[in-house]
Amino acid sequence: MFPILDTKWLASDVKWFRIAAPLVAKHRQPGQFVILRLGETGERIPLTMAAADAQTGTIELIVKAIGKTTRLLCGKEKGDAITDVMGPLGKPTEMHKVGHAVLVGGGVGTAVIYPLAKALKDIGCHVTSITGGRTKELVVLEEELKKVSDRVLATTDDGSYGFKGTVADMLTKLMGDQERPIGAIYCAGPVPMMRAICELTRPHKIPTIVSLNPIMVDGTGMCGGCRVTIGGKTQFACVDGPEFDGHLVDYAELADRLTAYRPQEKIALERMEHECKLAGVKA
């Protein structure tokens, strides 16, 4: 069991956790994730570590409640415990002093870029973070990002907050800035967003690293469920990634594969909501 030491809501559906996982904390590097499981009937889901502290033996997660498991997790409080936490998994981010690093996060992806911002800043990059959402409530982690970036730009599709437009629109603006040419872009978020960013940067040959989020089971290269096509070759995201050269990714395939369990996800969620209603609690 892995005790939850602290939690905080960052948005109505995004929660931050500090968890005791000393063995994982000791070796965690930016870009790596854990796989966790809730209870004996739970599924295994991957989550990026937003931070870790080897001294205190703790890791931090930022979780967006979207389906059954992430909602159950977000229902947990300080004092609760997580059945299994396995990691650190995946290759650490390859970090270079790229001068100006632009980090683009959409939705949960912002949780993934947050630790990168910190790490890139630590090695001396100038860090611009862009965090976007459809509307004001969906812009997450702006305050947290401010602490680890030189500049944070928030965008909303409807203009209800910050810059009106998508993160891609914001990036187009940044790319036009002759004063501060972009050395590299790190991007995580919904597949269409990552694809759009890569289409933008491709003609300019700006190195663009994306963090992919296929469905995973074991996280050790054993099942092949997380396979993605990179430059025409099949790779296992849990061991060969999760970060890849964004210009080589087959996004259409990734987007398709993410829909494989739609009907089951719906059933799981409906059952959970029903059970919660019976128990008189809010899901």
Partner: protein, 477 residues
């Protein structure tokens, strides 16, 4: 009065009671019911008690087969269990999954001749193991504690066996397992209908009682490196038994469509995550109506029989050679046929076809014919030109083998590997790295449970010698 050989010869092989084929192919309960005391006694009386027991040589761990069968015949189950357990620490598992027909039973003298039928060593082994689990308080005698710590990586049959050997010798053993449950392939791969979890749990519990610590959720190579275990965490030696679990695909078009699984993923979802019970459990699995499984080994057989149990109208096995070349255990092939699995032999996929929504809709295959024997001595299948045809299906499972998983070995660059990425060892199980031993599938490539156990046992002995020498302790008598 012991029976005469003539009397023994007159007894015919007792068959294993099984659950009805078209009842069992809808659930995950065990297919074989097991011998009862009477059947076990009768079957053991068929053994001719050969002086030079060829069967013993046929068993990779050298169980004294005639001796334990003699005890069963005499009704001394405790005696039989003692003999069995002294050579094989996991008889409930090997009795169920050993390819007996290629090992102990193949060389049994009673297998000779046209109508020869070997003594059912495997079934009897299973019987005694199950009897012992129910009736014996199997306290293993442990040597005095040495305080020496040894780490085992992986909790499959090789790791479990090695841990047991070392614990018996008084060492302080910790198993590190990547997944959330111990057992390796026994847990995540081989289905419940062939090897129930309770059999594995009993083994694991027995090890825990012997003082072995099992720490799950630790991926060696990521959570710890081998060097850290040796130099910072205080382990005097390490046994690596992380298996060979990297699934192979055919590299044909369409393999990344939705509805294409590796056998590892399919079986892991069903067995380890119990997805057959969705939505009672949270892990989903795609249930096909017409399922094609590609391959001819145990893994393919387990996958296709699982598909049937998950509700497939038609569960089809596609294999490029003929039935004789199938590497699966004879019993599995036989059970699969009884369960209405469709065999498409001498057939090889060339591409997987998708519908516009990117779900599998079929698999295009070619027919094969057998040509000259290849390196393995099996006749090489060659494509029959122009024989393409399509099998309509909504789920495809690739069970064409595994390769060495490089996760641990890449993190341990000074470990010598062969050209396929498997760890090189000497005849004691020692690797090129001092204090580090290895065995099981990560050394042999996908092999068998009993060979993995044999490796664990041999390495256990070598590690005992190594750590005693290192710490200046005398060898055990």
């Amino acid at each position: 009065m012991p029976l005469t050989n003539k009397e023994r010869m007159a007894i015919s092989r007792q068959s294993m009671p099984e659950r009805e084929a078209n009842v069992r192919n809808r659930d995950f309960n065990e297919v074989n019911i097991g011998f009862d005391g009477g059947l076990a006694q009768t079957e053991s009386e068929r053994c001719l008690q050969c002086k030079d027991g060829k069967c013993v040589e046929g068993c990779p761990v050298g169980i004294d087969i005639p001796a334990f069968l003699d005890k069963i015949a005499a009704g001394d189950m405790r005696g039989a269990a003692t003999i069995l357990l002294s050579a094989n620490s996991l008889p409930g598992i090997t009795g169920r999954v050993c390819p007996q027909e290629e090992q102990c039973e193949q060389v049994c003298v009673r297998a000779k001749g046209k109508n020869g039928k070997p003594v059912a060593v495997g079934h009897l082994e299973r019987y005694i193991a199950d009897w012992a689990r129910e009736n014996l308080d199997m306290k293993t005698l442990l040597a005095p504690a040495t305080g020496i710590r040894v780490a085992v990586v992986g909790s499959g049959p090789a790791g479990l066996t090695c841990a047991g050997e070392l614990a018996k010798k008084g060492h302080d053993v910790t198993i590190f397992e990547a997944l959330h449950m111990p057992g390796g392939v026994l847990t995540y791969g081989i289905p419940e209908f062939r090897l129930p979890n309770k059999v594995i749990d009993a083994e694991v519990d027995r090890l825990r009682q012997m003082g072995v610590k099992i720490i799950c959720n630790v991926v060696v190579g990521r959570t710890f490196t081998i060097d850290e275990l040796l130099h910072e965490e205080g382990f005097s030696a390490i046994f690596i038994a992380n298996g060979a679990g990297l699934p192979m695909f055919m590299n044909i078009p369409g393999e990344n469509l939705k509805g294409v699984y590796s056998a590892n993923e399919y079986l892991t979802r069903s067995n380890l995550m119990r997805a057959y019970d969705f939505p009672e459990v949270d892990t989903p699995i795609v249930r096909g109506n017409r399922v094609v499984v590609v391959g001819g080994g145990n893994v393919a057989m387990d996958s296709v029989r699982t598909a049937k149990r998950l509700g497939a109208q038609e569960a089809i096995l596609v294999y490029r050679r003929s039935r004789e070349e199938m590497p699966a255990r004879v019993e599995e092939v036989h059970h699969a046929e009884e369960e209405e699995i469709i065999f498409k032999l001498l057939t090889n996929p060339v591409r997987i076809l998708g519908a516009p929504d990117k779900w599998v809709r079929g698999i295009e295959c070619v027919r094969m014919e057998l040509g000259e024997p290849d390196d393995s001595g099996r006749r090489r299948p060659v494509v029959v030109k122009g024989s393409e045809f399509v099998i309509d299906c909504d789920l495809v499972i690739m069970a064409i083998g595994t390769r060495a998983n490089p996760l641990l070995t890449q993190a341990t660059p000074d470990l010598k590997l062969n050209k396929w990425g498997y760890i090189e060892i000497d005849e004691t199980g020692a690797t090129s790295k001092p204090g580090v031993f290895a065995g099981g599938d990560i050394v042999r490539g996908a092999a068998t449970v009993i060979l993995a156990m044999g490796d664990g046992k041999r390495a256990g002995a070598a590690i005992d010698t190594y750590v005693r020498t290192k710490h200046g302790l005398p060898a055990l008598p």
